[in-house]
């Protein structure tokens, strides 16, 4: 198929960006979206132009690196997939496709479609862990049975890939879905309980410091989340935050 691509080009964080238009021909339906971008880039290189920068690594939906806002949707059309899992058969010959970066004050643009998501790392550093030493001299793994339902719920929350689609989708650029997923995972497990109060307070504080917006319960984040992280996590985090703030001191 033949496509028209409208791609956000921006040379650096402080430079002005603009939409550039490119044509690509000979795109096969079996290509992934990123392979289509590879075709574009190799053509640009051969023409002596600057290829489009974008983040990617695993190309199978698990590392969370890829991050394109395609036709107004984080990770493009389709549910439960990342940009790298999107295939060209979701588009038609002759389509025009808009490709933009994640947009959020807390995710400054580095170049073109590449943004800086290190704010997420700092949120985890503020408390997204269990304070146990790595000596291996801990309890036997089966010493504390964990109800299957809790273990499964913790796992579901833990599948967040840290891509930032939730932030990019939210009109307030809120990071509640991401932050609550980690808080839920750890507070659902007995090992995470002792630090639960401090954790929620510290992580929420860091989230605010990074400049992420508030949550107005629209739920768009959960719709676009490639891993189906549920809004229940946000509710759990709010409950825990309230509890921690009222019972502290």
């Amino acid at each position: 198929m033949k496509l028209t691509l409208k791609v956000w080009r921006q040379n650096g964080p402080k430079e002005k960006g603009k939409i550039a238009t490119y044509q690509v021909d000979d795109i096969s339906e079996d290509m992934s979206f990123l392979e289509m971008m590879d075709v574009l880039n190799n053509e640009l290189i051969e023409k002596g132009e600057d290829p489009v920068a974008f983040d990617h690594d695993c190309r199978e939906g698990i590392c969370g690196a890829c991050s394109m806002f395609i036709n107004g949707e984080a990770h493009g059309p389709g549910r439960g997939i990342t940009t790298c899992q999107l295939h060209m058969r979701s588009f038609n010959d002759g389509d025009t496709i808009y490709i933009e970066p994640w947009r959020a004050a807390a995710f400054p643009i580095i170049k073109d479609l590449v943004v800086n998501r290190s704010a997420f790392d700092r949120i985890i550093q503020s408390g997204g862990f269990i304070s146990v030493n790595t000596s291996g001299n801990t309890l036997d793994a089966n010493a504390i049975p964990i109800p299957k339902s809790d273990a499964d719920a913790a796992f579901d929350a833990a599948t967040c890939i840290g891509c930032g689609a939730c932030v990019a989708t939210c009109k307030n650029s809120s990071a509640m879905l991401f932050t609550s997923a980690k808080i839920s995972q750890l507070s659902l497990l007995p090992q995470g309980k002792p630090e639960a109060k401090e954790r929620v307070v510290n992580m929420v504080k860091q989230m605010d410091l990074e400049g992420f917006g508030n949550c107005t319960n629209t739920g768009a984040c959960a719709v676009e989340c490639p891993k189906g992280i549920s809004l229940e996590n946000v509710a759990r985090m709010n409950r825990e935050f309230l509890l921690a703030s009222t019972t502290k001191s």
Binding site: E35, C58, E60, C63, H87, I161
Partner: protein, 666 residues
């Protein structure tokens, strides 16, 4: 130079404990005076950084991704082995040790493998304490599954995302140390050289991938956890960025490269669909429990399938060749990875492949669907002769077992595997070879260590499923943090290492010159062009089957390609900016050297073992023929000027605890 493997004396079971008791220690106050660089934040690097920092060393950690959490380990699916014997099925440290040695086709070091099996149980305890949500049974205890090549259930898992959960565990332990200031994290930084001062690894040269700045970093030791080099084949199941550069630069600075030709080709991956293909996707080994592998019996049928004129479902049972069941009646579809891969290649080479490229075989679930459907109908008291009902019930069972894999397959291929067989083909997956290390995980360069997939130590010529995750975490959490002390104990009075020395100066200059040569090259062809060409040569001549004349030819082809690359590659942009093409160029330059060494190593090893199959060395039935008399050694290669001049050091393997046998799966 005779290499000292530093294997402790004494009985196998006591070596590690004794070694830990005898090893030199650095006291806590002195650890604060010592800096350690860790390259990589995968399972090996993430766990090593966290543990070293916790012990008190000052750690500087590096990764090329934007966050340590995105290291390639995140993609591991199936599980992690540990000799917990929770299932009470007779598992033990010895059994895990034995399975691993045998699985590696008797080409790994006994002492290392035993230690790996020994510390495996701690890994699971550690991870659970960190909040890793492993799968559990209804009683709330940890669940296990079985993997290929073994007869017990010792694999711990978290659905199809075990690597993700383990890595996030290591990442959280790292994050804790970062927040304490004990780890300084450098994301989007790539190591481009290692610096040797007075014969010791004392630092690295990095490029900041955002700004292009070249920096010097010094330390008392450098730990390489930079992963495997499967991407030398261009197409593999590895992440796009996985590369050999860190290990290769260390090699060029004196670290020997061991068994580079040992690569693992995984039998069940989604086949290549076109020239634009950028990577291959794994379909978990677990599918072979229920899927039957076949190709058409006649070439006419195969041709018609390839042309899209005949549907697989229209081919009658008697016209199908279930070649694994035919050749290996006792193991059938569950033969080990190397055997299954070669058999698929053999059928496709003979013209029986089943997609338009002729490079695919069927993985068929229709018998399993009927089998499960009948059992379900019978247990529910329904009519097991009602075909539609049986189909429906059977599909439900298969969906419950493999639903997410089937979905992933459908997303990529647009084919529904419940209705028509999957098409699969082998793909490069893992590299057993890597930097040579002694028992302390130190390379031949004093102060330079290697852990995880980057070293060669534990898997011999073939790795068993679910053992790479185990090795990465064993090295990082439990082995290296002790053994590094043996080297660092003499450094407590050294003080900070200056980066102003002529050695740093020279290394930085070399890096800068290399990069500017790329961006100023008046070439025309993109980096990908060369990477693809290299991949084709490697796959053709140094892939699933290798043969002397072919390897010689490949060496010449790679040399020519390398020359062409330096003449004609085009790298757009500048050095001092965000420039992914420049990153790729510098990685492919190293692959172009490594590829030649791999062929050289494969040529030297005139035997077939594990993942290394020399066509000249096979039995009459086409099985691998090992030559223990002449090749029971580790090939450690020393660098001289270029890969062509690499010098072989053959390090004999001794087996005091297991008897060498021929693997048979008939």
């Amino acid at each position: 130079m005779a290499l000292d493997e530093k294997i402790p004396e004494g009985p196998l079971e006591q070596k590690w404990t004794k070694h830990k008791n005898n090893i030199r220690l650095v006291n806590p106050a002195n650890k604060r005076l010592i800096d350690v660089i860790v390259i990589g934040t995968g399972l090996a690097g993430g766990s090593a950084s966290a543990s070293l920092a916790e012990m008190g060393y000052n750690v500087k950690a590096f990764c090329f991704q934007d966050s340590p959490r995105r290291a390639h380990s995140i993609a591991a699916q199936g599980g992690i082995n540990a000799a917990k014997n929770y299932q009470n099925d007779g598992d033990s440290v010895y059994r895990l040790f034995y399975d691993t040695i045998k699985g590696g086709d008797y080409r790994s070091r006994e002492a290392n493998v035993y230690r790996l099996a020994e510390v495996s149980t701690n890994i699971i305890d550690q991870c659970v304490a960190q909040g890793v949500p492993f799968a559990r049974d209804y009683g709330g205890l940890l669940d296990n599954r079985s993997f290929g090549g073994v007869q017990v259930s010792r694999t711990f898992y978290a659905k199809g995302q075990t690597g993700q959960q383990l890595l996030l565990g290591a990442y959280s332990a790292m994050s804790r140390q970062i927040s304490k200031g004990k780890i300084e994290m450098f994301s989007r930084h790539e190591m481009l050289d290692m610096v040797i001062v007075d014969g010791k690894a004392r630092g690295i040269i990095t490029r900041n991938l955002v700004t292009g700045e070249i920096d010097r970093h010094s330390a008392h030791a450098v730990v390489l956890c930079s992963g495997g080099y499967g991407n030398v084949f261009y197409l593999s199941t590895n992440a796009m960025g996985s590369n050999a550069t860190a290990a290769w630069k260390a090699h060029k600075r004196g670290a020997y490269m061991a068994n580079p030709c040992y690569t693992q080709i995984h039998p069940t991956c989604i086949p290549v669909s076109g020239d634009y293909q950028s990577k291959l996707t794994l379909m978990s080994e677990s599918l072979r429990n229920d899927g039957r592998i076949w190709v058409p019996k006649t070439k006419e049928h195969a041709k018609a399938v390839q042309a899209g004129e005949l549907k697989p479902t229209a081919i009658k049972e008697e016209d199908r060749d279930y070649y694994l069941e035919r050749r290996y009646p006792s193991f059938g579809n569950l033969v080990p990875r190397d055997v299954a891969s070669r058999a698929a290649k053999e059928r496709c080479d003979a013209g029986y492949g089943v997609n338009k490229t002729g490079n695919a075989v069927f993985l068929d679930f229709s018998s399993a669907i009927v089998r499960y459907g009948k059992v379900e109908a019978n247990t529910k008291g329904l009519d097991s002769n009602d075909e539609a009902l049986v189909q429906k019930l059977g599909k439900d069972v298969v969906a419950a077992k493999y639903g997410n894999l089937f979905q992933m397959y459908e997303k990529i291929t647009d084919d529904n595997p419940y209705e028509t067989p999957m098409k699969i083909f082998p793909a490069v997956h893992y590299t057993m070879g890597g930097l040579w290390v002694d028992y302390n995980l130190m390379t031949t360069v004093p102060g330079c260590f290697a852990c995880g997939e980057a070293n060669f130590s534990d898997h011999g010529a073939n790795r068993l499923g679910a053992s790479a995750l185990m090795q990465g975490l064993a090295d990082g959490y439990f082995v290296l943090p002790y053994t590094v002390g043996d080297f660092l104990a003499s450094d407590i009075r050294t003080g900070p290492i200056s980066t102003d020395s002529p050695e740093f100066e020279a290394a930085e200059k070399e890096v800068k010159e290399r990069l500017s040569a790329f961006v100023n090259n008046p070439g025309t062809k993109p980096v990908d062009h060369y990477h693809r060409q290299l991949g084709k040569i490697m796959w053709e001549y140094c892939g699933m089957a290798r043969e002397g004349e072919g390897l010689k030819k490949a060496i010449v082809m790679i040399q020519e390609l390398r020359e062409d690359f330096y003449k004609n590659v085009r790298v757009p942009g500048k050095e001092d900016e965000f420039n992914p093409e420049l990153e790729k160029a510098s990685r492919v330059a190293d692959f172009l050297e490594l590829g030649e060494l791999m062929c050289k190593d494969a040529l030297d090893r005139n035997e077939s073992c594990g993942g290394h199959f020399r066509e000249e060395m096979q039995t009459e039935e086409g099985e691998a023929l090992r030559d223990d008399k002449n090749y029971r050694y580790v090939s450690a290669w020393e660098w001289f000027e270029n890969p062509t001049d690499a010098k072989l050091h053959a390090i004999e393997l001794t087996f005091d605890n297991v008897e060498l046998k021929t693997r048979s799966y008939k």
